[in-house]
Amino acid sequence: MNIDEALKKIGDHFGSRILKVNRKSSKRAYIDIYPKDVVDVVRYIFKDMGLRFNIASAVDDFDSLEILYHFTYDPTAIIISIRAMLKDKNDPHIDTITGVTRSAWWIEREMHELFGIEFDGNNDLRPLLLPDDWPSGVYPLRKNFVVPKRDSRKE
């Protein structure tokens, strides 16, 4: 299944629930969806089409947060990334995909603590990487978090 066949399958199955398709090259594509459709899309791509879940990455776009779920089809070396935009940065929510695949277990914990994204349905969002005494509400990978620099002249 090459990238055009994969994109056609996804397009045919989901129809207007797909917002945008960016076929970047013969090996890379980015598909925009509504956040509420993420579980259905992930289930279709992972279980029905048999792609491998690579990882999810969140990005702070200043006025919104976006999550990219990356999937790989190894036999033809294509990587399809599903993009969900979370418009409300003060209270970003999206459904968990851990019900579809256990491989998202850690990355949702990480995105929760580094970006502040709530994964509805995931009741194990304990910190994974940050220390226990890290102040709550401070999300290091958001753009408004700036690492304080020390002035070595004062030392």
Binding site: K24, Y30, R52, N54, I55, S57, I79, P131
Partner: protein, 395 residues
């Protein structure tokens, strides 16, 4: 009468370096649950990368993990090159492959040594690490350093392999191969090791797919994936080599995969040195436009994944790094449940968690409040080997 004991797998031990914290819940001798708390090693690399330019990011990703320090830069530069389809000169592609395969041999030998130590085969530890020095010598000759090679740049490589170094590299490889044969024989033909490792810590194919396991961990369970063959990069599609898979999914299968991969790596290096064309090693790209790119490479532990988003400036807007162990770690929970405490170290080591986080283990017996540290856990493992030897009448 069974009692639940909590087994925290935590801090410091001379033989293992990376700090993670595992809590094993034990009933008697059997592990019934695992919890993990990492973060002792979290250095905020993704955030640092956003304040550096693209050339500097490559140096930072080298230091994500000591023994994947050529795989992460390869994936990182490929992600940047993917943004705007930068072509890389042929010679540079071959050099990238040679660098990565040398590292693969180095990493698997290192792992073999550590696994040997856990099982009480200290000679295997000493010899595997001694012959690892042959690879370190090649690396020092070619790149200038034993680790952290600083070979990669966007659009090519930074240093060439000189013609006069090639016979030296080949002679070291010739010296290494009989040693690999010896280590292979010592490990795979040993009946005690077979009794110790076969059937232990099995990861089924279905679980490997569900956890999206990678690298030798997946290949030992019959999942036939290898980035070098599936997403050909560098010079891997220009040389002949085999992907090694097994089906049993136990620790023995993972050992077999890693040992046989070393032979494939040696063959790839030789073919690359023979077929490498002359020519430039750098295509000198001048700027990176706005866009997104994904780069993947096969580290000794599995697929490294880098996603880079650029806004046309000199720095990445977002740099997502995913090391292979991130996907393999959770399989530890799957493979250690129901196993005995004396096998816990070797089951964790079999994932090859970026240089053994197995030191991060402590056992607390809630019954008598005694605490066992990791040395004692390793001693349990070594004692089990000794008991097996006695049972089989082997000295």
């Amino acid at each position: 009468m069974s009692h639940k004991a909590h087994v925290p797998i935590g801090p410091y031990h001379p033989l293992q370096e990376e700090p993670e914290f595992y809590k094993l819940v034990v009933e008697g001798e059997t592990v019934v649950d695992v919890d993990v708390r990492i973060g002792y090693n979290h250095r905020g690399i993704e955030k640092i990368s956003e304040s550096k330019n693209f050339d500097q990011s490559i140096f930072i990703v080298e230091r994500i993990c000591g023994i994947c320090s050529s795989s992460h830069p390869v994936a990182c530069v490929q992600a940047i090159e993917d943004i705007c389809d930068i072509t890389v000169p042929e010679r540079a592609l071959y050099i990238r492959s040679i660098n990565q395969e040398l590292e693969r041999i180095h990493s698997h030998l290192l792992w073999l040594g550590l696994a040997g130590h856990f099982l009480g085969y200290n000679t295997v530890f000493m010899w595997a690490w001694k012959y690892r020095e042959l690879i370190c010598d090649i690396m020092e000759t070619v790149t200038g350093n034993r680790q952290n090679y600083a070979m990669l740049k966007v659009g090519g490589v930074r240093r060439d392999i000189e013609r006069e170094h090639v016979p030296y590299i080949l002679s070291r490889l010739d010296e290494l191969l009989p040693k690999l044969d010896m280590l292979k024989g010592a490990v795979l033909d040993d009946p005690v090791l077979a009794a110790r490792l076969k059937g232990v810590g099995i990861l089924t194919k279905e679980a490997a797919i569900d956890y999206a396991a990678l690298g030798p961990v997946a290949r030992a369970s019959g999942v036939d994936i290898d980035v070098r063959r599936d997403h050909p990069y560098a010079a891997y599609d220009r040389v002949k080599w085999n992907v090694i898979t097994q089906t049993e999914g136990d620790v023995f299968a993972k050992t077999v995969v890693r040992i046989l991969e070393m032979y494939e790596s040696a063959s790839i290096i030789r073919q690359c040195l023979d077929n490498m064309p002359d020519g430039p090693i750098d295509s000198n790209p001048k700027e990176i436009p706005a866009g997104e790119g994904i780069g993947v490479s096969e580290a000794p532990r599995g697929e490294c994944f880098h996603y880079i988003k650029s806004d046309g400036s000199n720095s990445p807007v977002r740099h997502k790094v995913r090391a292979p162990t991130y996907m393999n770690f959770p399989t530890f929970r799957e493979t250690v449940m129901g196993q005995t405490v004396s096998d816990a170290t070797i089951i964790l080591a079999a994932i090859d968690p970026c240089y053994c986080c197995t030191e991060r283990m402590l056992i607390v017996d809630t019954k008598d409040k005694s605490i066992m540290n990791v040395e004692e856990l390793i001693r349990l493992s070594q004692e089990k080997t000794q008991r097996l030897k006695e049972k089989m009448g082997i000295k």
